[in-house]
Symmetry: D2
């Protein structure tokens, strides 16, 4: 399943070292101003090789819109975008052809498909998120006129919550040939009440799927999240006043439906599995061996995952927004509850 | 969206105080032995009124299979099941008709739909999970011949991890007119490698959506979960040996695909929002008021949520299993990787 | 796949001789007045045993709404409806248990599923359409305030186009122990322009699937249909004037999207396969035998298929209408083209 | 909706005069040999400019596989293919910018979306079928090892059934500044019994949607089709013998499920709407005007629609085949019925 969304539907394609990665967005409303310029800043934030701390692959990630716009605006037709893979040193990966990297999808892909593109992880590569960011950029343009904004930040890296010390935590791990993870918080503000559906289409369920579908994410929480499990009802409930909710323990979602308060999602990012320390593993014939992964690898992908998580949140919200508009003629004469 | 799954598709219906709740399972394989007897034990575990600690609604929850079985076996046709609502004291809820209960979906349903069945929460009631448990019972029967078993347990209630003290924590809260939440762990054993798909159909993404789609769940984590964010790569990666994985930090899923190790999911359950302590709220016209919720309410729903979470896990796995079988003719000649 | 539609989604269940047939409609807008009374007239038109010409099963087909309405209006929650099977003379079918009826799905169900409910055709019975008619009745209520009306009629029975002679054609066939088919025309008037989507979601493609999905239908055509294949472009094109289209060869759909003109669909209904004349067939072990089908069978199902085809058309249009509303905020400021 | 299929899912994109057209096929099994060479012959048959009778656009239609293959085989990942638009004389279309061509989607797109790419019909152009043919070529490779073959032919053009006279019929129309349509028959042989599902997923319903979703198709019939409406049951039923069906009036499908006999589908293709004769129409402001469409237009698109219809049939069958394999472990121990 390489499609995400019911109304604003993104289908992504491409491998780390194939000709191109890309996405087709079907269901985008017509009349949205959109060009390659809208994608670049988000792609740039996702891009490796922009700091000393991150991996050194230097492809420019030039996106090309192949369809669905006319005179700088979307037409309601599928918007296809592609990014070529130019800096593909496949040779680096020959050594990994028959060895499964711990913490990677190598072993599971081999088991499931029998055949795999072993160069740079193929489809399981983090590079696949380039396509999500392209779609996310379009989703953000759809959300913009509705006043919905999405912002992510690292709230913890390598166990460190103080931003000033995060870089040091990453460098420490790097010097040790190791890696660190962290926690990212995504906040969506300006969301109208009413997004999301009861039961299986709960907005928090959709956000959970979106976030857990990003490689390296091992946990998702909304509002108080796991802390809520240790609170009493009298603490966790948000009192309502004539001016709105008096607090936001719920993280902006009640019964799966947005309340109008800020939507707050946090995700746990595991440490980069590619490390230069030696690790015990097996090869494709099941024989035990040891692996040391050299080459350009991020000791911490938390900063680069932020625009991806923002993009996924944007996809969920754009999808929910369109879903909601479908029923508006039947509900709009009602006074909003508050 | 009241449908869950792509291959083993469950569509649920019903409100807390309507004529009946139920589910239609479309895509169930033929030849699975199944009768009402298979549903009862799971329904019984979900049922209120079975202990001193839980709410006193005493409906027997008799399920009836309406279609899709013949001579005690599924036929491949949709399996519809319904459970009547007999013990419906709607009168209890008249007082809540115009007041929004904090921590409940009352306010969001009113805002979204303009009209709502206010009796007992209507569709947002925890009673909706009766339908999920019916479908889950069928899913478990599908998984059984494959050797897949699912077991859940409370690992923490009201901040207490010692099972012996959990009941006391609940009673304490009850005495204070308050409520507690907790953490449930679901373990699926016997899963073959290869379940789940890359990118948006990752098995962990599907499990996250399934779990976060249960009312009161505020967080989901797989394997090390949030703890992974504080580990180094050398700790978090699971080394591979000729005998299999040497550890299971990943929680049985790598790159979104099952590894064959136990699948471990933990969910954070918020404290029951219905408490008898006074709470500030508003009525349907936005006027401030105070609410004290009397009546039969669980001070802790953690025990009753366990069979629901097991059911949701079973739905995800049955769905992934069918998805996987689709491609087997193309991969089965391959030697398993290990 | 027992679900139809993307927005107004119907999932049907039930066999001819099981406990009940029914449907769950998910995605119905809130605030639509709806009760059992709205379903009865359509069910009555579909019902056998109402004339001398049709089969004599006399079940009253009492529908019960199980969920999704409150105070006589839909709530936006799934609307489940069930019709019990009361008049189930399963004994009639014991003789057919091991013999495949020509022109029926008996042989294909047995091949595909290994197990089948042989009583009255099970799920492949025409009785399955009871569920579609229930859903269709709700769809018609959704279309009503938009001014969309749907009407079907037999334009040909047994090769006879004159309504006065149709009954005679049926009786002739009946006397011969045989059966006849016919052609039904469905006209939807009042449809706004803009329903349907380019490419795979063309309104005519959706109508074709809806109609061909009715048992016994062997052909579908829109507007001029097969006659268009023999016309020249100058005849088939509909000229446009300031007052609208000067003709309606297109049958109300251009490029898959409604034009605002009447939508005209015709379907070919094959003769009832159950006939009392002797037919060559095989049994479940592949041995040749002869079959004479006695019992209550319609010599012509054309009249009873009309409300079913109307219902399917209503489902398609309700679905397309909701799909369309999703994008209205982005297009409504545009002047309509004409 | 630009996605077709549930298991073998094709999402197409692109406009007649945009940068590229293409398709992403998600759900293709791994291990299928596939390269650009497999697409070319089908694309060539669809291509204009290859005969004196068809339009003179001469783009080479070079397809490029962007993802999903490795070492000449599919990997189970999405297969993206793109075809650039090189010969784009957009200038030709400036004159049509504000005038709606009769029989075309111009007016409906303008009404629905407010904005449209008027160059060559944009997304509603017949050129969109390039993407379907790319996907169809892959589907044919999936069907091949199962022994399934698909062949289409024109059985009637301009009312003429004799192949020798078809070209003359087209030239006659061309000389008159007019156009002709025709009937195409698609036959799929080698299909196993059991493809297709009861109710809404009937194989004939899926084929009907696939065919009616091709622009210019106004009718679809299976087996006897509309002729069945004039037959008696004793003529239309196919007797069964120990050697199989004695006839194939059903066109290879009973109860929506393939019987193992040849699947026979016929489609009615309307005459090309672009003709050089003068036609009454309106402009985008609703003012009456006259249009004469000059330029490179086929007087008959029937020959070029054949590979498109074959491709759509291949997509339906590949999809149904995968759907079927899902349930095989539950049914394969059963003896085939015959």
């Amino acid at each position: 399943m390489n499609t995400f969304g019911r109304n604003f539907r993104c289908t992504t394609f491409g491998e780390s070292h194939g000709p191109a990665l890309g996405v087709v967005v079907d269901g985008c409303p017509p009349g949205i101003p959109f060009s390659e310029e809208d994608v670049r800043p988000l792609l740039e934030r996702r891009r490796p090789g922009t700091g000393i701390l991150v991996s050194a692959r230097r492809e420019p990630d030039e996106v090309r819109i192949l369809s669905g716009t006319f005179s700088g605006m979307t037409t309601g037709m599928p918007v296809a975008m592609a990014v070529g893979n130019r800096d593909v040193r496949s040779g680096d990966y020959e050594a990994l052809k028959d060895v499964f990297r711990p913490g990677h999808a190598d072993v599971t892909y081999a088991q499931k498909y029998g055949i795999r593109d072993y160069r740079g992880g193929g489809r399981s590569s983090g590079r696949e998120t380039v396509a999500r960011v392209c779609a996310g950029a379009l989703a953000l343009r759809v959300l913009e006129p509705h006043g919905i904004r999405i912002a992510g930040r690292a709230v913890e890296i390598g166990g460190v919550a103080d931003p000033a010390s995060m870089e040091a935590a990453i460098l420490d791990a790097k010097d040790a040939g190791d890696s660190v993870g962290g926690i990212v918080e995504i906040v969506a503000s300006g969301c109208p009440p009413g997004l999301g559906d009861p039961v299986f289409g709960k907005l928090d369920a959709l956000l959970a799927a979106a976030m857990m579908g990003i490689g390296a994410v091992k946990g998702v929480e909304i509002g108080d999240g796991f802390a809520a499990a240790r609170m009493r009802g009298s603490e966790q409930n948000d009192p309502m006043t004539a001016a709105g909710f008096a607090s936001n323990h719920a993280g902006g979602i009640l019964g799966g439906i947005s309340t109008g308060a800020e939507i707050v999602v946090r995700i746990a990012v595991k440490p980069t599995p590619s490390i230069s320390l030696p690790q015990a593993t097996v090869d494709s014939r099941g024989r035990e061996t040891e692996i040391r992964i050299s080459g350009r690898h991020d000791p911490c992908i938390v900063p680069r995952i932020i625009p991806v998580a923002e993009s996924m949140a944007a996809l969920v919200l754009a999808d929910a927004l369109l879903e909601n508009q479908k029923y508006r003629p039947y509900t709009q004469t009602q006074e909003p509850a508050r």
